[in-house]
Amino acid sequence: MDTLKNILIVDDERFVTDTLEGFFRSKGYRIFKAEDGQACLNIIKNEKLDLVLLDIKLPRVDGIEILKLLHKDYPSVKVIIMTAYDMEYKAVVDSIGCDAFFVKPLLIDELTGKVEELLAQDKAIFRNTEENPEVVPYPPKKPLSSFPEKMLPKARLLIVSPRSLISDLLKDFFAQRPICNGIYEVVETGLEQLDYIKKFKPDIILLDVALVGMLGEFGLTLMNMPQPPKEIILFGDPAATWEEAETLIKRGTKFIQMPLDLHDKTASVKDTIERLNNAVKEVCLKYQLFA
């Protein structure tokens, strides 16, 4: 029986495909390579692949289209995204799903470790990012659970918080909920992020009050996007930049109180997150955001 694992390497830089080809072949894998999207598609259709190392920016057919195809028609094939466009495609890839996301420049030890890990297991997993901050966690390809209802409330969520601990908590929570139809997390409000957010088209923004009044051009652009969010839900501590937040609340913006100090025993963070979840659900029902 043929036990060699088949890996397809897709990158528009021949140096990279050639170098990785020699490297992984010497480790005992069967290697296919493609330098454009069309060649990649041909290999996907004709070969039984175990893993694809996929660049996003490719001539002819881009990596996002290929990722969608792999996700839909070849769910057992593991996919590692490797891109120089770290944040630009993050939200889009996030909404489709992949097994690992590497930001170039690639470190060969980390890449090898991930390839070996994925090929050694049967199921996609959440990855531990503590050892490698360049590897971004993604939801598994299939939802962890599903609601019995036929019509599921679903929303594309944008989390904006300067507190990475909070935004990571929320991201981890919502990424595993059926209500989440894509998620994007913003810790720094750089203008570069706006391009990604415009492409992501969030339905709901979960906005930390700590940032209200400090969003400036970033906030204005968010509100004036061609497809603006249906609603903003504020969360955080009333002590933070409260005047500006109050103005928003008077206009009807929801506010979910959350302690700034996560060790504050007087208010349960878990409870706050659950209330945020309910608020998201209400917005879905209000605007009929269903799967």
Binding site: E13, F15, V16, T19, L20, G22, F23, S26, K57, A84, Y85, D86, V103, K104, P105, L106, L107, I108, D109, T112, G190, L191, E192, D195
Partner: protein, 83 residues
């Protein structure tokens, strides 16, 4: 003229070539000597390759900061100042 987005992408790819080239060569050298003591000149070469990998990553981080600074002032697809 190359647009800013393309230019940054090209520089990112150059960093990637450096890190992949250095990283793979480093691992292959280690593998070559895995059953024998590594000569000191090879040890030094491996150390320099590791430095090169790290340098590419550092350069890439600086490039990202530079991108943020430039993108505030210029359109990434127009290469013209933002109004």
């Amino acid at each position: 003229m190359t647009e800013i987005r393309e230019l940054f992408h090209k520089i990112g790819n150059l960093h990637n070539k450096i890190s992949v080239g250095a990283g793979v060569t480093k691992v292959e050298l280690k593998r070559k000597f895995k059953d024998n003591p590594i000569p000191s000149e090879i040890e030094n070469a491996i150390s320099r390759l590791t430095d090169l990998e790290k340098t590419a990553v550092e350069a890439s981080k600086d490039l990202r900061q530079l991108k943020d600074m430039v993108y505030i002032r210029m359109g990434i697809d127009t290469s013209k100042p933002r109004k």
